[in-house]
Every structure is written in C-alpha cells, then in structure tokens.
Amino acid sequence: MSFPLLTATAVVPAVGALATAAVPAARRTAAKWLALGFALATLVLSAAQLVRFDPDAAGPFQLTESHAWIKDFGVRYDLGVDGISVVLIALTALLIPFVVLAGWHDADPLEDASTRWRPTQGFFALILMVEAMVVIAFEATDVFLFYIFFEAMLIPMYFLIGGFGDRAGERGEAETAAQRSYAAVKFLLYNLVGGLIMLAAVIGLYAVTAHQLGTGTFSLTEIVQARANGSLEFATTTERALFLGFFFAFAVKAPLWPLHTWLPNAMGEATAPVAVLITAVVDKVGTFAMLRFCLQLFPEASKWATPVILVLSLISILYGALLAVGQRDIKRLIAYASISHFGFIVLGIFAMTTQGQGGATLYMVNHGISTAALMLVAGFLISRRGSRLIADYGGVQKVAPVLAGTFLVGGLATLSLPGLAPFVSEFLVLVGTFSRYPVIGVLATVGIVLAALYVLVLYQRTMTGPVAEPVRGMPDLRARELVVVAPLIVLLLVLGVYPKPVTRIVEPAVEHTMSQVHQSDPKPDVHVNDVEAAK
C-alpha cells in the first residue's frame, strides 16, 4: 500500500492545530512559528499531490484511498482527487501560510488578559483546523464524508469570526463585540440551516440507494456508475428534491443571492486574514461541491434547475457589484465584490459548457488569490488606522507608496484587468455563457463595468488626493507584510499571462464532469455555433 498522501495532507494541519493549541500561554511566538511550520508542511504535501497527479490518467479520481468507516450508514472513508480538487487543495494550502503570516499579531492578547486565556494559540489552531477540514472536504468522494466536514468546518470558522476582530477603534469595545458575535451567529445559522436541509437530502439519497441497490451507499463513483448502467434511477421529483437540498446548502456557502447576507457581516467583522479564509477558502467548498456533487449526482435535475440558477447568479453579479459601489466600509465592499464574483463562478458552472466550467474552476483559484491580496492589504491598512471606513482615508499613496501600489494591483485583479489572472477566467466564463445563453452573457458583462467603478472609486478615495490627517505618518508595508503580499502579486501576474499550468490540470476533469451531465445529448454549444455560422 502506497503512502496515503491525501490523508496526510489533511492530517498534518489537524495535528498542527492540536500542537499549536497545546503550546503554553506564555510561548505565544512559538505557537505562531509552529502553526506556520505546519501550514508550510501542508503546502509541501499539496505540491506533492500536484506532482503525482497525472492530468491525462484515465478514471475520474486519482491517488484514491478507500477504507470502511461506518458500515451501518453505508459510509466509506473514500478519498480521491480530480483536476478540480487538486487545484483547489493547492490554492488552500498556498493561502494558509499567508493567512497565518498576515494574522501574526491579530490575536495577541491585550495587556490585562488573564494567563489562562490563550487567544493566540486558539487563533492559529482554529485556522489550521479549518484548513484540515477544507482539504478533506475537497478530497472526499463519499457524500457523507464530505457532508461531515462541510458541516464541521463551521465550528472553528464560527469561533474565528466571533472570537477575534479588529481593534475596537472609535466604535467602542462593547459595540464591536456585539457586532462580531452577531456576525458569527448569523454566519453559523445560515450555514447550519443550509447544512441541515442538505442532511435531509443526504438521508434521502441513502434511502433511494438502499431501496434500489439493496445496500445504501454514499460513494460518488458507485452512484454515478449505477446511474450509468441503469441499476439506479431517480424518479424525477425525487431527484429534483434531492438536488434542491444539496444546492441550497452550497448556495448558502457560496454564497448566492438571496442567501448571501451573512457574508458582508462576517467579512466585515472578522479580521482580514479570517475574511480571506472565509471567502477564498471556505466558500470555495460551496462552488466546488456544486461541480462535484450537484452536477454529477443529479445531472437531470441540474439541467432542470439551470434557468433559475443562471438568473440567480446574474442577480448576484449585478446586485453584489451595485452594493459594492455603495459601500462606505472597505471590508464590506470587498465582501460584496466577492458576492459578485461568486455569481460569475456559479454562472460558469451552470452554463454547462467546457469553457464555462473550466473558467469557473480557474475563477475559483484566481478569485482566491486576488481577494487574498486585496483583503490582506486592506487589513494592513485598517490595522494602521483602526478604521474600516473609506472616508477616514485619503492620500495614502503619498505616505505609503508600496502599500498603495499593492492595493492597486489587488484591486485591478479584482476588476479583471487583462494581464492579471482573473481576466482569463472571467473571459472564459463569459464566453462559455454567451455560447449558450447570449442574453445572460451580455448582461453579466455589466458586472465588469461596475467592478471597475467600485475598485477605482475605492482606490481614488483612499489612496489619492490630499493626505488625510490621520493617515499622516502612516508606516509603509513592513517586511512580514511584504512577504505576504509579494508572492500573491507575482502569482496574479504569472497566471494572468500564462494560465496553462492550471487549465491543463483542470480541463480533463471538467470534460469528465461535462460528460456526466450530458450523458445522452450532444454538446449544445456546437449547435449554437453552427447557427451562428449559418447566419
């Protein structure tokens, strides 16, 4: 038996979480280095996954591991990666060290804290715990196994949002704490309700497979195979109900309009690294799961629901962008921008074209990197001034040019400037959508225009103009902060010019997913092109 690489990638951060949590209260710095070490070790393992992953190999999943787990529930500990998940695991493993570094001082206790309260250890342990759970959720090919970690990751995430925030600033300690716990509870309840509705669908899936196959199973491969050879057939209503149960949970997580309202609260109140963790890492599980589980388990229902989902994602794109334009709070602005971007991702997935889905996957990666860059720099900015309000800034580029410059690059990536990574993915998504749904494709491009508006206005108000009084004397990026930002910006540039390494890995997996959905009908985008050509 070969080395269980996938298990190791999840176990290493989990062990790191326990080790970090066990560090004595006084050894705060040791805990930070320990956490960083484990995060880097996970990155190495994830790189090993990329190396050992063969994009052209046959079969849907690679590096598979399979063990019996809970026989009574038909649950197996089945892991496997396809091109999509291996890339997303790499994104996660890549971002976590930056999150740890960026949050280096976010959880330092105040002077008067008691000795038994160890927030620093807790903060980094929770981050690593989230990483472990996200990784295993990306790897799981058993629906139940996925569900368990999909739900369980809410708990450490909840403590990260509710337990740690920016310094209180002008709002006062009590007000800040109240806002924060409100945001944490809202996050948890939205996601928990989504998850519980999915639980009903998971149980329903078991009931259907147990009824038709004799033994209930949650194995994605088994169910897909059984559907292909006809031994498992969902009744139309059942399939639609189950699909809706799954999709609801993923749409809350993603988040899709109108289930998005928890995200601005959570991202606004959480510290910048935690906000990155939410939007760049945890939310990706939602969009990823749409691709892996909704489309593959319920292809017919997915096609049935496509029109509605496309409209919802279009609304997300436009509504998120419009609200971003109107924000006065930097972090909430980025949150609404993310909602707009998640709209693009879902649009790409449900456009049901190879470009669309490939673009959506690439978008997940690029959005992760670009949001991380923008949000972390915004976090550095906020930590200097102690305010999240755009109006409190002005002329930063004269005082802290490097900070302003990196902020600009992150912002330009967010508005999908050609040459930066998100442009490629956004373009692919729009092309993929246009080839089948031209009207929606055209309307979605309005989102890009709005993106330019909110990013440039944000930059103009905070960074240009006369130097605002509180900004005077603001220090530029420190070495630690540069170490965080520089690699992200390099990545944005590289992937913007040369996205091939990622698309090369993703494409076969996307084609496989497409073949699952279109088992019988020909690729409709060909038809559209034919019609265009005939004209």
């Binding site: 038994r116 368990i148 739900e151 948890l188 309840l189 639980l199 009903a200």
Partner: protein, 551 residues
C-alpha cells in the same frame, strides 16, 4: 394454558376439577441477575444506613453502589456473551420479564449511566463545607422543614443524606425491569419502583429547598396521574385480551388466538377497549419520556431537582421509558400499526417543534436542557415510528449516545457556582470561556453534540434515527426533524456565544474544581461523545445485533 383450554364455563371448572394448585413460580435467577444484584445492593444499602455509624456510611454506600452496579453490568455482559442477546433470547420469570437484545442493551446503558451518575451523587468538594464537614448536593435531612429548627440542627450536626445511594439503586432496579417487562403488570410495578425513588430524590436538594420540594410534588402528582392512566389502560387491555402478557395481547390483536376466557367473553376482541386501553398505556409511557403534550413536568422538575439527580433522571429515565415504549409498540401492538402510527407521528412532530421553539426563550441552563430533552424525545420518537429493525437499533444507539452527553452536561452545570450555589441563570454564564476555557470548551462539546454537529455522537445518533425514519416511509418527519434541529441549534449556539464572546461580569460565578468523581463523569461524557461521533461503527453493530425483540 393447557389446563384452562379444556374449560367450558365458570361453573364446570369448579365442579369438574380439584382446587387448582398454584404452581411454584419458576425463576431463572441467572437470567435476572442484573436486576437482582442491583436490588440486593439496594437492600444492603438500607441495612448499612440502619447499622453503620454515620461517619463510615458515605464510603460504605459509595463502594456498595459502585460494586453493585459494576457487578450488575458484568452480569449483563455475561448474559449478552452467553447468547441471550441473540438466538437464545427468551422470556424469563414465568413470562414476566424478557431477556433479549434490546433489554440487555438498555440495561447495560442504564447501569453505566447509573454508575457515572453515582459519581456525581458522591461529589463532596463543590459545596462549601458545613461546620467543617464536606457535604454533597443533597439536603442534610430530607424530612426537615426548609429553614426550620430541625434543618438548622441537622446542618450543624454535619448530617448528610447517604440514603440517596440505596434510593438511587432502587430506582435503577426498577429501570432495569421497565424496558424488559413482558407483561403489563410487571410494566406497572417497574414503573412505580423506579418512579417513587425519583420523586424522593427530587426533593432532596441542599440549596433552594422549596424549589426542590415543589418540583418533587409536581413530579409526584403528575406522575401518579400518569400511572393511573397506565393502570387503567392495563385494565382495559386485560378486558380486551383476557391476558396481560405481551405475546398474549399481540396474539389477540393479530387474531391468531381464540381461547376465550369465559368471564371476559363479552369484551374480548372489542376494539374500543383495545384502542382506549392502548392509548392510555401510551399516555403513561409518553409522560415518562417527556413527549408533548405530556411534557409539562419536565422543565420544573429538571430545574428544581438536585442537578446530579436531574442528570441521572434525564438520562436513565429516558432510556428505560423508551425501551418500554419500543417493546410495547413492537411486541404488543404491531398489528395496530396503522392505528398508532398517525398518532405517534403527530406526537413526534409536536414534540420536536415545541421542545425546540420553547427552548429558545429559556434563561436558565437547567430549563434549557429540559426543553432540549423534550426536543430530543421527539427525534427519538421519529426512530420509534420507523417500525423496522433499523428503527429499533437506531433508537438504542441514540439513547446510549444521548444519555452520556446529558450526564456530562449536567455534571458541568454543577461546577459553575456563585455564593447562592449553582449559578444556573444563563446571564451568569457570560464570559465563562474567558475565565475557565477548559470547562467552557467541554460544555461547548456537549452543546454541539446536542445540536447534532458532525463528529459528535449527537450527529451519528440523529443520522441513525432520521435514516431509519426515512426508510420507514416517514420522510416528512425527517424534514420536520431537520427544521427543528435548526431551531434547536440556535439556542445551543446562543449559550456558546454567551460563554465565549461575552465579556465576563465582575461578580460572575466561579468554576469550582471538582473531585476526581465528577471529573471522571465529565471525562467519560466527552470521550463517549467524541468516540461515538468519529467511530460509531462498533456501537452501531452492537445496537444492530440487539435490535430484535423476543416474544
């Protein structure tokens, strides 16, 4: 039976046969040993109370209780290993008590719960010493008037109520018989045997004596009322079937037997009697389970009783009562499935929703846990309704998982104290996570298990019962179940928010450092919660093998 089969009427019996000789009952002592050991230990405990000097009683009672419960548990294991949980399952004591898988599984659970609960009963480090002597959470003298002269003297003399141990053993003895009872009279006797000691235990709180006595009176009155229902139901069922044995009634329900008792010829097979009688017996059992609309006693009793008793009662009573309910529905009334299922559907739905919704407004930890126990009763009922072997084993698993979480949660409640004893008002728990991270984290684990978050035993249990319900054709119940889980999650989370994200109050409670006894109870709770959450397969197998009732 063969003797009476030849009988034609009341008059010929008397004329044709010699006076009937009452046969000496044949008792299978070995198969009944768990119950006998516990009741024997309880009797010895009474003697200890009568003859041993006061200062040695505590240690003697504790030792006796622990040894008695451990021996009884060993007997259960031996019986299960001897095949009584499987193909050798049988009915013992002249048809009065079943020795089968569900009975042994539930008895084992009750004994373990009792053992852990005994530890919390024996805790003597939490209360400040009274006149130099360590005391537990029970009244110095149960009979003394609260605040009266007798009580003052008893406290000054450093008296403690070591009677709680034998009383608890009697309760456990009754609980062991309750899920194994195979005729309605045994069921009733077992019900009384475990209820009466519980009423007494509820009245024995050291602090807040009046609240405690009020809770005992409420519990007693309502309990007596429900017992009356049960007994009336038993009488009607006897009228219907001419027998009180489960299998005998089941045969009449199924229409397979026609051996009429001449005295009951006019009522036998009368469906009205069956329906009313069955419903009344169910009322009695649903009262003990704490299902809506028979749940009114739960919050008051849970709040007023001494917290170790609440933990014990919440865990063990539920196990015993659901065991009896399962046996009644699966052995006696399977032929009536189409009649009782719609009713139980309604009860389950209302129980889940009321428990979850009313809990949201609670401000006292013990009342909160009481309403949460009501909601959980609803979840378990969803598994009961499945009427499949899967349903039985899922309920057994849920009961095992739930009872340890409950015990642990109430044990944590005993630790959080201020000058007035336990600080159960939720506002006092604010900021507990800052002050005592470990205790708050442990309580959070229990709350997450109650909420059914994955990787805790609560999730495995919930999944098991909902899965069984879905397969048993009760999909709407599953939907209501997940929705009320979502509501329930809200108030569990609220407590976590309070503990971790609120600023500690200056005059807030402190967390007492318990003796190893309570620490053990809490540690066992945490370990069981996590093990059943991460690797439940072994215990699911166990519950699965124990899923068949003997008739």
């Amino acid at each position: 039976m063969s003797r009476t089969a030849t009988v034609h009427s009341l008059w010929t019996t008397a004329a044709a046969e010699p006076p009937v000789r009452i046969p000496a009952p044949h008792i299978e002592y070995a198969q009944l040993s768990p119950t006998l050991i516990v009741l024997g230990a309880a009797l010895v405990g009474v003697l200890v109370e009568a003859f041993l000097p006061r200062r040695t009683r505590y240690h003697a009672q504790l030792l006796l209780t622990v040894v008695g419960l451990a021996a009884a548990f060993a007997a259960v294991i031996a019986l299960a290993a001897g095949g009584f949980a499987g193909d050798k399952a049988r009915v013992a004591a002249m048809g009065a008590v079943a020795v089968d898988g569900p009975a042994l599984f539930l008895q084992g659970t009750i004994l373990l719960v009792g053992l852990i609960a005994a530890f919390t009963f024996a805790e003597r480090r939490l209360e400040p010493t009274a006149h130099g002597r360590p005391v537990d959470s029970f009244a110095a003298q149960g009979a003394a008037v609260p605040g009266g002269e007798a009580e003052r003297k008893a406290v000054a003399a450093g008296m403690t109520t070591t009677e709680v141990f034998p009383v608890m053993l009697f309760a456990i003895g009754g609980m062991l018989v309750f899920p194994a009872a195979n005729d309605l009279l045994t069921l009733f006797v077992a019900l009384e045997v475990f209820s009466l000691p519980l009423y007494v235990l509820c009245a024995l709180a050291r602090r807040q004596r009046l609240l405690s006595q009020e809770s005992a009176v409420k519990y007693f009155l309502l309990g007596a009322f429900s017992s009356a229902f049960l007994l009336f139901g038993v009488a009607l069922l006897y009228g219907y079937a001419g027998t009180v044995t489960y299998s005998g009634i089941a045969d009449v329900v199924g229409g397979t037997t026609r051996t009429l008792d001449p005295a009951l010829a006019s009522t036998t097979g009368n469906d009205a009697l069956l329906l009313i009688g069955g419903a009344m017996v169910l009322v009695g059992l649903l009262f003990k389970v704490g299902a809506v609309p028979f749940h009114m006693w739960t919050p008051d009793v849970y709040q007023g009783a001494p917290t170790p008793v609440t933990g014990f009662m919440a865990a063990a009573t539920k196990v015993a009562a659901f065991g009896a309910l399962l046996r009644l529905l699966y052995v006696v009334l399977p032929g009536m499935r189409w009649d009782w299922r719609p009713v139980m559907w309604g009860v389950a739905i209302v129980t889940m929703l009321v428990g979850a919704i009313v809990a949201v407004t609670q401000t006292d930890v013990k009342r909160l846990l009481a309403y949460s126990s009501i909601a959980h009763a609803g979840f378990i009922l969803a598994g009961v309704i499945a009427t499949t072997p899967d349903g039985v084993s899922s309920v057994l698993f849920y009961l095992g998982a739930y009872s340890f979480v409950t015990l642990g949660a109430f044990a944590v409640v005993t630790l959080v104290r201020d000058a007035g004893g336990e600080a159960t008002h939720l506002s006092k728990w604010a900021g507990l996570g800052r002050r005592s991270p470990l205790v708050a984290a442990v309580f959070a684990v229990f709350l997450l298990a109650f909420a059914g978050i994955p990787l805790t035993s609560g999730f495995a249990g919930k999944f098991a019962v909902f899965k069984a319900a879905a397969q048993g054709g009760a999909a709407p119940l599953v939907i209501v179940g997940v929705l009320s889980s979502a509501i329930a999650a809200f108030f569990y989370i609220r407590v976590i928010v309070l503990m971790f994200f609120s600023e500690p109050k200056a005059e807030g409670p402190t967390v007492s450092v318990p003796s190893p006894l309570t620490s053990t109870a809490i540690a066992v709770g945490v370990v069981v919660t996590l093990v059943l959450g991460v690797a439940p397969q072994y215990f699911l197998d166990l519950a699965g093998q124990a899923g068949t009732f003997v008739r």
